[in-house]
Symmetry: C2
Subunit: 341 residues, 2 copies
Amino acid sequence: MATIKDIATRLGISVSTVSKGLNGASDISEELRQVVLDTAVEMGYSTKRSRKEENRKLCLFIENMNYEKIDEFGYDIVLGFKQNAFRHKWDVTVVPVTPAFQMEEKYDTYLLKNGYCGAFLCGFALHDEWMKQLQHTTMPTVLLDNFIANNPNVCYIGTDSYEGIAMAVNHLYTLGHKNIAFLNGSLHSMVSEQRQEAFETSMASLGLEIQQDLMAYGYYVADSAQYHVPGFLSAGATAIICGNDLIASGVISECTQRGFRVPEDISVIGFDDIPLAPAMTPPLTTIRQDRNELGKGAYVVLNSLIHHISISKMLLRPQLIERESTTRVSKEPRIIKDDLK
Amino acid sequence: MATIKDIATRLGISVSTVSKGLNGASDISEELRQVVLDTAVEMGYSTKRSRKEENRKLCLFIENMNYEKIDEFGYDIVLGFKQNAFRHKWDVTVVPVTPAFQMEEKYDTYLLKNGYCGAFLCGFALHDEWMKQLQHTTMPTVLLDNFIANNPNVCYIGTDSYEGIAMAVNHLYTLGHKNIAFLNGSLHSMVSEQRQEAFETSMASLGLEIQQDLMAYGYYVADSAQYHVPGFLSAGATAIICGNDLIASGVISECTQRGFRVPEDISVIGFDDIPLAPAMTPPLTTIRQDRNELGKGAYVVLNSLIHHISISKMLLRPQLIERESTTRVSKEPRIIKDDLK
């Protein structure tokens, strides 16, 4: 690994200037400091410095996810991560991130500059600048719901989508449903792809027919429902599995507006178990991701990466939460209304 | 959760007798003690008792795997598990297990009786009696290379087979190989199935043809080679990926005996990086499973399960170890010997 002397030699500056740059002294320019930091990162110096035992600081970067209020999706994730980290005497800083911020600051350099030993990233999208940089990062990094191939410094953490969707399909099957629709989240998402595969595999393993007009990708928002629910209803769906609870809330509204009762005419099942789920009308049956456990687990993995255990993936168990939006399939033939045809 | 009183009521015996049974007092019969323990397990008492903080004992059960000498496969797994557990002040007992032992002792009862808070199981086979019992165990359990669906108390740990096989295929591809054969391990093994899928996916993603006569399941032993290598050679393989290093050693012998030089005529790549691999002739290129990390990671997961973080799967990164059994594909057409046809 590179030493301060190596960095000085490469840049043709003195060892003391490099040292000032690395330690954030006030008497060198911000531009020169940035060059020193970037070179240090490039030469693999970061790992060496940031793993010092006395420097127990972790960073939680968060994007596209609300987390400040108790009823927001990210709240328990942040809480679980902090709880476990504090218990083991680490400091945690939560840093909200934008795409612009990622263009301004290099990932490794940012961590080095601020003395972080590792980071947990929540809510990042595939096209984010930092996602590209993670392919080569030397910093211990845990990534929620995304996988980076071939880099032993990065671990993917999430809830087991296969088992979650299988639970949803099995639950509906035991209630007598056969025409099960699946309104997935966004097309370009690793998690959506896993859930799609899980849906098709689970249906097939129960001998249920996979019908193209009962499957669609939408987005992870309630509005998705209006574009796909009418088609599902016309095609004879008796139950709809949704990519998340927000989609499910839209599906319930859409069904209700069209005169279909949930669950008597159509069963609806979500994914996530957000704090809002039990308060929906009817209270939502869903597949729970335990967000507090996700946060705690992320700390466990990050600490392992820092101690050179190269974990690639860690998945948590989902849990079926039965509430009132699913019931036995109705025996009476449904009347398809004209406006749905 | 059940109390001592509940157990006493169910069995129609006194609370003090139940207590004696649970604590292994000498003045009750072994038969009665067994009934008390079995009932306690059935009623979910085990979890409550064994998670007491003062009772820091873990068990490592091991079957079908040598581990006592430094050059044996299990040695570093056991070592890593113990290292991490001892560091966190847990005692570890290593218990070798046979199929007969599993018929005699119920899994949960054995743990309860001996005061273990959780266990790590290495080398178990799908048809083992305890594998059935793990579907319903209430004890925190980490299982090497096997997955139990829907039980939040059991976690699967292993090396990422997909990434490992993809590394092997990519390595051979960059050396110019197109006719790549795959001699897999046993058919009825989760890991073999993952590797088979990974092989076919990796070949397809590089635009390489998947040829049925270049793929076979064998067993995880060197002898597998003699049944499949002749066919691979006749079918024009220029490289063979093996399900483990033992198979690879057999493949090298088989090729050599038939006048094919490794790697000049045919490249061979293993899986595991057992201690023997660098000492083979030629030294074996292989996909490393870091067994010390597997052991350490198993402790991390087991400790998480004990603290109610329901991890389902944890995979470690494999690593390509380039030695001398692989090289660029030969440009000269090979002479197929008569005895191979």
